[in-house]
Every structure is written in structure tokens, then in C-alpha cells.
């Protein structure tokens, strides 16, 4: 598809800091190439704002290739925008029409408070990982990598789960603000591999306990998270997490 230039109206959430109230601001943007990415479009807006001596819109991003999980954004009411299986940084302007109004908001979740404008604080995810998202091995003194064969389907499924980038779209989309998809991705990855199997139940228990403690909601299996996950993490992993969790409680 040949590229062309389009004009846009942006409705962007501006909020000074965690404590202030925040409101939408409207901006007109002209001559945006449909070949540019969504974040490049915001770059253009920010250059324009700097030119007018105004503060640019703060937003999180880093790799700009869909892998670091730093970018976020609700775009027209959808986490990571209208395209499926991609992050905001991979979204391109050819998905939008000339003259369209685009509403841009941060993740709106109690456990991820707004830092400024479109940036949120996802430290809660870190705490969940610290509670159990690992195999308890130290560096060194490890047997040969091929000592334990792993069936390819298991390795592949573990890889599917391991693809989670920790972006938070699942939480932001869930009406209960549950972090189950995120937690299940790690629990499931490690439970599928012999190296992680040993601690599978206790891991599930510790991570879920931390998740509850941090105020994330319960999972009521609505599946919205799966729809918006840029990495295609499926509800099947939540089912596996539930099994591990049950096991842990039976043992207790």
C-alpha cells in the first residue's frame, strides 16, 4: 500500500503527576505519513509542542519493536490500539483514516498509578516476580544442558508462555484489574519444564498471594485479557496456574 499523509485530531490525557487530577487536551496534527508508527506520530506532536514552548506528552517506550514491554497506551479505548497481536510501538498510522479523532489514555488501574500523562507505575509486577517468578538456582555448578531431554511440544508451549513482555495490557483491560494472565504466563512456562517443575506449586502460591496483597482483582474468566494481549498469551495458562495453585493448597 502506498503511503500518504493524513491529518488527525488527538485527544490526549494530560496529568501533571500522580496526585493531580488530569484532563484531556486536544491537538491538531497535520501531514502524518501513514508509514510512520504510532509513537513516531507522538514524536511529531511533541516536536510541535516543544516548538510552542509547551511540555511534551510523557509516555513510556524504549525498544520500539514490540519486545521490551515498556510502551502502553489505550488508543480509542483499546489497549495497544486497534490492531491485534502487537504493541503500541508496532502500530502504524495506516490503520487510521484521514481526519480521524484519536483518543489516547494511560492504563487506568489502581495497581498501576499514573506517574505523568501517559506513563504509569508498574512496580507491582516487579514485586510479583520477586515473590516467586524464578527457578531457585544460583550461578554455576549446573549439569550439561542436554542432560534432561524435554519433549519439543512442552518446550514450545513453555516458549509460548515465556513470550509475555510484562506490558500490563491484560490488567488494564480486565474489568476486575486482575493480573492472572501475567502471573499464569510465568507459572505455566516454568511448570512445563523439568527445571521449574520442582517448585511449581509453591511458586504459584507465592505469586498469587503477592498479587492479591498488591490489590489486583480476581479472575472471573471473561477472557478480555487474552483478546488484548500483544503476545497471544492464552487462557490455557490460567487453567494451568489454577491447577498448580490447587495442588499447593491441597498439600498445605
Amino acid at each position: 500500500m502506498a503511503s500518504k499523509n493524513i491529518n488527525l485530531k488527538l485527544k490526549v490525557w494530560r496529568q501533571e503527576n500522580a496526585k493531580s487530577k488530569g484532563q484531556f487536551e486536544n491537538y491538531d496534527l497535520k501531514n502524518i505519513s501513514t508509514d510512520s508508527s504510532f509513537l513516531e506520530m507522538i514524536d511529531v506532536l511533541n516536536e510541535q509542542l516543544v516548538g510552542e514552548n509547551k511540555e511534551p506528552v510523557a509516555f513510556d517506550h524504549d525498544c520500539r519493536e514490540g519486545i521490551c514491554g515498556m510502551c502502553s497506551l489505550f488508543i480509542n479505548g483499546q489497549a495497544h490500539g486497534p490492531d491485534s497481536l502487537i504493541t503500541t510501538c508496532q502500530l502504524h498510522m495506516r490503520k487510521f483514516k484521514d481526519g480521524e479523532t484519536i483518543t489516547i489514555e494511560p492504563w487506568r488501574v489502581g495497581s498501576f498509578p499514573v506517574i505523568k500523562d501517559l506513563m504509569v507505575d508498574r512496580t507491582a509486577y516487579e514485586k510479583i516476580m520477586q515473590a516467586g517468578g524464578f527457578v531457585s538456582v544460583n550461578t554455576g555448578g549446573i549439569p550439561d544442558a542436554n542432560a534432561i531431554p524435554i519433549p519439543k511440544p512442552n518446550a514450545d508451549e513453555a516458549m509460548d508462555a515465556a513470550a509475555c513482555i510484562g506490558c500490563g495490557a491484560c490488567v488494564a483491560t480486565c474489568k476486575n484489574s486482575s493480573a492472572m494472565l501475567f502471573v499464569s504466563a510465568k507459572v505455566s512456562q516454568l511448570a512445563l519444564l523439568p527445571q521449574g517443575r520442582v517448585e511449581a506449586s509453591i511458586r504459584a502460591k507465592n505469586m498469587v498471594a503477592k498479587m492479591d496483597e498488591l490489590g489486583f482483582g480476581n479472575c472471573s474468566n471473561t477472557g478480555a485479557c487474552e483478546m488484548e494481549c500483544p503476545k497471544g498469551i492464552t487462557l490455557a495458562h490460567i487453567a494451568r496456574l489454577n491447577r498448580e495453585f490447587l495442588c499447593a493448597n491441597v498439600k498445605d
Partner: protein, 651 residues
């Protein structure tokens, strides 16, 4: 002139590392608790080092500018990681991996370091598997390998097209465990602003909290910089938006030497640039060269027709395609090393055969038609599905049906902070690991070797070598940065520079300066360089720097989140680093690896080294603003390897 002491251990190459470990000093367990180690960076090198040091019992403070250690740019590595496991039984050995790395680096890397790297490579794979890294496997349940450029064996381990992500998440899981246990104190969204040196030793750092803007100090008995590469000096590169050279530059200004800064890698297969608004270039992994064939049209009129949209590449018959790598380098074909592949692409596009309709008509094809025919679409999808998806999202072209468009892009910095065998810089107590140091890749890095080096440094080298230093430090009491005057002085300098930046109140944005610098760097310090151009570059960079300090505009306040200020801090350093890169390139009157001086080439157009005069590591010493830096030379000696002209035409 200071003599560089690389501290290479005695003995035969293959015994050096075991000899070193057998005789080095270690810190006893009770004393480890009394020692603070600062690790800046949470990529493969920093994350692995922080976790491993904490496991040993040291108290670690770990820093990154992202909101989580898991987001360091190592996450973006796609293709794979090398190791000399020889699982495929195709003849690999530690020596061969060592040999390939030295040869790939065009004989500009230190032999002893590279041998150690090859030696510990296998442990990295074991370690990662134990952490639950889901590497690709064969149906029998054992690990699978693929081939990368510059090697005749299959030694690359991979996890789909997300190897860096999985290895980093492995290191991150170990790090998270140590944070949870209270052995690592983690500082996210915190940027290093300077290094504190007291009585000649590195004793801590000054940072800026990126959310509050607060300037803070942290004490450490030793400081490790694992802050990644400086490719973003070119503005457009495959690096993350926040990747920077500032930590290395601060170290340089405090007395660490900067080595071979002109050695940067231009990766042959990134998606070509398409507009001025562009913020970064996206890599298409080298692994694709396993199955893709690179070509341009044989006839110029076909190239023109394709650029004008009058012809489709898939309609061009094979006899009208020039598979120029297979033609020029029959032994290695599409798998020649990166510098060779990148220059060959430039040669064809300069000659008018480029296929992309961008301003410079730059682009070549990477075609999967042949592999799909041979292996079937499913096999290709399994190997590269996520890369193909990424490509399609960016370009709106389907690479299963039409060849990918690719072109070289700045990707990696082989140059970096000078370190000795112990990874210690010329400042005692300051160490550098991963891409931030210069040590292992010479003038060109082989694919899948950066992940190997980062993790080797972090898991298996630094946790040993740093103890040889710390063994003398355990009775140094912890210092209180609030009362120690050198910390206060460094903080004041940092604050003064921020004030200076904020007070310029000019008219031009940070990005506009960064883009100008990038253009000079790409045109004159990029894929092909010459003496005249480099001299011009130095003058132009000075001019941009001058304007930057007179006319920069930063809206907002300093003591709060201010992204423009963050960028300004980094670009101010790039504007100095860029000049040093040009100087280094100017001083190296030869072509080697990624450093191609058009004045020095063979009749066939290949890079021509000058071993008699330039077989050394350049190490630059800062002498003060507006003063010429001093060049020190570490001669390179090859005892176990015969130095040859690189040849990828015959095996």
C-alpha cells in the same frame, strides 16, 4: 606515557583462565557482607553480574533507566547465542569458536580474553537451561542449533526469534530472586550522571531519579558499568530509544580510557529507512540469512522499474537476479560476516542497483522463496514467524510472498571502555562489562556473540575477577555520601551542568541536534570513511556542539520528570563522543572489520589491514575540554593464531 597493563595471566593460552582462578584473591564469606558493589545496567551483563554477585554474598545496588530491569535492550536480541557445545557433531571446539571470533574481528581483539570467552560459553547454555530458558529443541528433546555468519559450524542456540528476551528474562529471574531476598537493592528509572572517584579509586555514583528529578549519591566499594552500546550516536540505529553512551563517557572523563571508539558494527539486514519522521531502524535477524538469499536485479533498468513500482521483484526470473554474496564469496555465500555483507550491499546500491524508493535508493532483497520451496512454508514460519510478522506490521508487505527489503544499519559498538583481563578499567575499582567494554570483538563482531559475551562477563568472569580487587577492600568502611566531600563536589558538578542546560533557553529541540549529528556520523563516520571526510566531520560536530550549548530548548522544570532534559544530557555526551569516534577513525590509517577507509583497500575492493603499524588497541585518554585527547596503544600479540588476511571466498 602511561603503560597499559592488560594483566594477561602467564601460561599457555588454554591454561590462562584456570591459572588465574587458581591463584587470584577471594573474599571470605563473612567479609562479603561488608562490601557494597554498584552495578549500573540490568542487561545480560549487568543483570547476570548483579544476581551472581548477590548470590555470592555481596551487597549489590543495581541501576537502570527503564521502569524494570527486564526491559534492558538485551531483550531485543533476536537470533541467538553461540557456544562451543558441538552438539551437532559438526566439528566445533573451544579453539574453533575462539579462532572464528578473532578472525571475524579482523585480528583486532585480545587473544586471552577471547579464548576465555569461548571457554566459558558452554556454561552459559547450561545456566540458562537451568533457569528455565525455553531454547528451541529437536523432536528427540535435545537442543537445536542454527548457523550464523562467519562460521562453518552450527553453534547458535536460539529461542524462536526472541533469544535475547529469553536469556534476559532468565537473568532477570535470578535478579528478582535476589531482590526479593534483600541482597540487591534495585533502582529503576534512575540514570547515572557521574562517577565518584576518591583517592584514585571508584567509590560510587551520582544519579538522577527520572521521576522526581532528584540528584542522589550512592557508595560502592567497586562500580561496574554494564550500560550497553553507544550506537545511538548515529540517531538512527537498531538500539532502543534510551540506549546511550553517557555512562561510558562519564567514565572516560574521570580517567578511564576509551578504546577503539570508531569500531561500530553496521548490520546488513535492517528494514530500510523510509522517512524523516523515522525514530529508529528495525533489525531483521541475521539468522534469516540461514534460509534467505540476498540479491539485487542484474540489470539496472529492472532496479529502476522496481523502484518506480512498475515491476514486482517476485516476477523477476532467476537469471535476472544477482545473488552478489554467493557470486563474490562462494565459500560462505549469504553467511559472510556482517561487515562484508554490509559493504557488499552498499557497493551494489552505490552502483545503482538499489531497490527501495527512498532518497538514496538504498535497499536490497532477502528472499525466502527458495527456502519455502525446499522446506515448506510451515518450517519457515516456525523458524521466523515472529520476525515475518514484525516485518509485515512495519512495511505492510508479506515476506512469505514477496522478498524482504533490507539495508545495513548501525547496530553494535565493538569499541568501548578499555578493560584489562579482569574487566577493570584504568580507574581502579571501576569495571566494565558487556557491550560497554571493548574487549572481545575486535573490529567486527560475529552474530550471536554479544549475548555470549554479556553473559560470560556477568555470570562467569566478573564474579571472579572483581574479588581480586575487593579482597583488599573489605576493611574500607562504608562511606556516607551525605558527609563525604567528594560526593558532594560531584553532585554539585552534576547540578551545575543541568542548570546550564536548562538555562540555555534557546530555540532548537534536542532531537533536531541529535538528527544533525546522526547525519554527519552516518555520512562521514559510517560504512565508508576517508581522511578528508573525517576531518570535515570533526569540524561539523564541533559546530553542532557549539550551537547546541547556545540554542538548545528544554521546556519544563529540572526537578520533575522531564524527558527533554534526559535526552539533552545524553545528546550532549554524544556530541563529544562522536568527535572522538571520528578522531579514532582518522588515526587508524587502515581498513579492518567494520572500519573501512576507502583509501585502504585491495584491488578487489576488500578491506586492507596494515598489521605492521596498526595491530593495536587504541586507548584514548581524556586530557580536558578543548584539549586533544592522548592516544595510547596496547599492542596485540597472537601466539596461538596465525594472522591472515580474512578470506570468505574459499574455506
Amino acid at each position: 606515557m602511561t603503560k597499559l597493563n592488560s594483566k594477561i595471566p602467564e601460561g599457555k593460552l588454554k591454561d590462562k583462565w584456570s591459572n588465574y582462578k587458581a591463584h587470584q584473591n577471594l573474599v571470605n564469606p563473612a567479609n562479603k557482607r561488608k562490601i557494597d558493589v554498584i552495578v549500573v545496567g540490568t542487561g545480560l551483563a549487568g543483570g547476570a553480574a548483579a544476581a551472581s554477585l548477590a548470590e555470592l554474598g555481596f551487597k549489590v545496588k543495581n541501576f537502570c533507566y527503564q521502569d524494570s530491569p527486564r526491559r534492558a535492550h538485551s531483550i531485543a536480541a533476536q537470533g541467538g547465542i553461540n557456544a562451543a557445545k558441538n552438539y551437532p557433531n559438526d566439528g566445533d571446539t573451544v579453539y574453533r569458536l575462539f579462532y572464528d571470533t578473532i578472525k571475524g574481528g579482523d585480528y583486532r581483539a585480545r587473544e586471552s580474553n577471547v579464548y576465555r570467552l569461548a571457554e566459558v560459553s558452554n556454561s552459559i547454555i547450561d545456566q540458562s537451561v537451568a533457569q528455565g530458558v525455553p531454547f528451541a529443541r529437536e523432536y528427540g528433546g535435545l537442543l537445536d542449533n542454527r548457523s550464523f555468519g562467519g562460521a562453518l559450524v552450527s553453534r547458535t542456540f536460539y529461542a524462536r526469534g526472541q533469544t535475547g528476551q529469553q536469556l534476559l528474562l532468565g537473568a532477570y529471574s535470578g535478579l528478582s530472586r535476589q531482590i526479593g531476598l534483600g541482597n540487591v537493592e534495585m533502582f529503576n528509572r534512575t540514570e547515572l550522571m557521574d562517577i565518584v572517584v576518591i583517592d584514585g579509586k571508584a567509590r560510587g555514583i551520582v544519579t538522577r531519579n527520572l521521576i522526581t528529578g532528584k540528584i542522589e549519591s550512592h557508595f560502592g566499594h567497586a562500580v561496574v558499568l554494564a550500560t550497553g552500546g553507544y550506537g545511538n550516536v548515529f540517531f538512527l540505529s537498531t538500539n532502543a530509544m534510551g540506549s546511550n553512551g553517557s555512562a561510558a563517557w562519564k567514565a572516560y572523563k574521570k580517567g578511564a580510557f576509551m578504546s577503539n571508539p570508531c569500531f561500530v558494527q553496521i548490520h546488513p539486514t535492517a528494514i530500510p529507512q523510509h522517512g524523516d519522521f523515522q525514530s529508529k531502524l528495525t533489525l531483521m535477524s541475521e539468522s534469516l540469512r540461514n534460509d534467505g538469499r540476498i540479491w539485487v536485479p542484474r540489470k539496472k533498468e529492472d532496479a529502476v522499474a522496481i523502484r518506480e513500482g512498475k515491476k514486482r521483484p517476485e516476477d523477476l526470473p532467476d537469471e535476472d537476479r544477482d545473488f552478489y554474496l554467493e557470486r563474490r564469496y562462494p565459500a560462505f555465500g549469504n553467511l559472510v560476516p556482517r561487515d562484508v555483507a554490509a559493504r557488499a550491499a552498499k557497493e551494489r546500491t552505490d552502483a545503482g542497483f538499489g531497490i527501495e524508493n527512498n532518497p538514496k535508493k538504498e535497499g536490497v532483497y532477502l528472499d525466502f522463496k527458495y527456502a519455502i520451496k525446499r522446506l515448506g512454508r510451515d518450517a519457515i514460519e516456525e523458524r521466523y514467524g515472529n520476525l515475518f510478522q514484525m516485518y509485515e506490521k512495519i512495511t505492510d508487505d508479506n515476506p512469505y510472498k514477496t522478498p524482504m527489503k533490507i539495508f545495513p544499519a548501525i547496530h553494535y559498538s565493538m569499541g568501548g571502555i578499555w578493560v584489562d583481563y579482569e574487566l577493570q578499567t584504568t580507574i581502579p575499582g571501576l569495571f566494565a562489562a558487556g557491550e560497554a567494554n571493548f574487549s572481545d570483538h575486535g573490529a567486527n563482531r560475529l552474530g550471536a556473540s554479544a549475548l555470549m559475551q554479556g553473559l560470560a562477563d556477568g555470570y562467569f568472569v566478573l564474579p571472579y575477577t572483581i574479588q581480586n580487587y575487593l579482597a583488599y577492600e573489605f576493611d574500607t568502611p562504608r562511606m556516607d555520601p551525605k558527609t563525604q566531600k567528594e560526593f558532594k563536589k560531584t553532585e554539585d558538578e552534576v547540578k551545575a551542568r543541568i542548570d546550564k542546560l536548562m538555562n540555555i533557553k534557546g530555540k532548537q529541540s534536542v532531537d533536531s541536534f541529535h538528527k544533525r549529528l546522526g547525519r554527519v556520523m552516518w555520512d562521514k563516520v559510517g560504512m565508508a570513511r576517508d581522511g578528508k571526510g573525517l576531518q570535515t566531520a570533526i569540524n561539523e560536530i564541533k559546530q553542532i556542539r557549539k550551537e547546541f550549548w547556545q540554542d538548545l530548548k528544554i521546556p519544563g522544570e529540572k526537578e520533575t520528570l522531564n524527558v527533554e532534559l534526559e535526552k539533552a544530557n545524553r545528546v550532549a555526551d554524544f556530541l563529544e563522543l562522536g568527535e572522538l569516534m571520528a578522531r579514532d577513525a582518522l588515526a587508524r590509517k587502515e581498513s579492518c572489520g567494520g572500519h573501512f577507509r576507502t583509501e585502504y583497500r585491495s584491488e578487489e575492493g576488500e578491506a586492507k589491514r596494515n598489521d605492521a603499524e596498526y595491530m593495536y588497541v587504541a586507548a584514548w585518554e581524556y586530557k580536558g575540554d578543548n584539549k586533544e585527547p592522548a592516544l595510547h596503544k596496547e599492542p596485540l600479540q597472537y601466539e596461538e593464531i596465525e594472522v591472515k588476511t580474512r578470506n570468505y571466498k574459499t574455506a
